[in-house]
């Protein structure tokens, strides 16, 4: 009964927000949506990853590295909260983190790092050439900078976007770094409500 009421209100709210029922995404839409480039990489458990295995799910994609103290943990923390807020719908969403620092992002480090956010998050790494192609395909800036006086040795300048790939494998949306968690949740829910045909 309560659930029914909640749902009713949710629909009402959605309708109110969207005028004629057309939801307006808070993220940037990619028009027209094109098939998301494949990511033939390996996850932190040593399993071969394939985007095409996630048809029917929404994939939230982020490029980063474990030695980043700042943008990456913030983005992953946001994605963790997105999953929490999605509740049971989280089962229809897969978060994927692609390394921009393949040298240091060893499987062990990725395992521990990602588990601290959400154990379902996947961290991909792989052949340098395949990674380079992924950065290019998704328009991700990755620049290695030496920090000669730092204990870090080097850092990686990188883009902070989060991308959404829909249930049909189309690259649909991107959110700039710092987009409120509720906006991401709202957009993901909209994609779940209106799954693409085909």
């Amino acid at each position: 009964m309560q659930r029914w009421l909640l749902r009713f209100f949710a629909i009402l709210a959605a309708l109110a927000l969207s005028g004629c029922g057309a939801y307006e995404f808070r993220g940037t839409m990619l028009e027209p949506p094109n098939p998301a480039p494949e990511l033939p990489l390996t996850d932190q458990f040593g399993n071969q990853f394939q985007l095409s295995n996630y048809r029917g799910k929404i994939v939230l994609l982020f490029f980063g590295f474990t030695h980043c103290p700042d943008i990456c943990p913030t983005a992953l923390g946001d994605l963790k909260r997105v999953m929490e807020k999605l509740g049971s719908d989280a089962a229809k969403v897969q978060v994927v983190f692609v390394s921009v620092d393949p040298e240091r992002d060893t499987p062990e480090l990725m395992q521990r790092y990602l588990a601290a956010f959400n154990p379902t998050f996947l961290g991909l790494n792989g052949d340098r050439a395949l990674l380079e192609k992924a950065y290019k395909d998704y328009g991700v800036t990755v620049i290695r900078r030496d920090l000669p006086n730092s204990g870090l040795g080097y850092t990686i300048d990188h883009s902070g976007y989060i991308y959404a790939i829909d249930q049909a494998g189309n690259w649909r949306l991107l959110w700039a770094h710092g987009t409120p968690v509720d906006d991401i949740v709202s957009d993901v829910q909209a994609l779940l409500r209106n799954p693409p045909r085909s």
């Binding site: 040298e103 240091r104 480090l109 730092s150 300048d157």
Partner: protein, 181 residues
Amino acid sequence: MRRLFALLAVAMMVVGLAGCGASQSGTQTGGITVRDPWVRAAMMNMAGDQSGAMGNMQQSTPMAGMGGGHSHGSEYGNTAVSAAYMVLVNNGAADAIVKAESDVAKSVELHNVIMENNVMQMRQVEAIEVPANGQVELKPGGLHVMLIGLNRDLKEGDEVVIKLTTRSGKTIEVKAPVRKP
């Protein structure tokens, strides 16, 4: 005016000596005060991990002085990092934080993050300037105290002690609680 300042300084010293400050999260001395410090939770590496892409894993990097860490070629595989954030409030003349130390990490550095066209760039900085009667916020996506090469896990509820040195030669001891990433 001078006298008032001196009086104030004495009062602060008394407070400091009395140990009132010690139980708070930030301790104060002179001009710069620390408010709301926290450290991001992080896990260090498995000790003796040998699966790094870079074979040479020298754990014993002799670090004579902190902050003066020098480059050691390609031994940067597999070090866990974290960052400390806080608000630096300055009630006096312009000053700066020029050094940070802590026993939780091999090196502790002052860093800044610049976002340009949604590309994040992290850089080491010489000092964090705190304007006269002003404040500077160290926060995610900006200035931070970087902890590099953690020697223990930083779990929620833990406390990290960080010693800051100002340009004017004062030290500030900060007790920062660990928070979830």
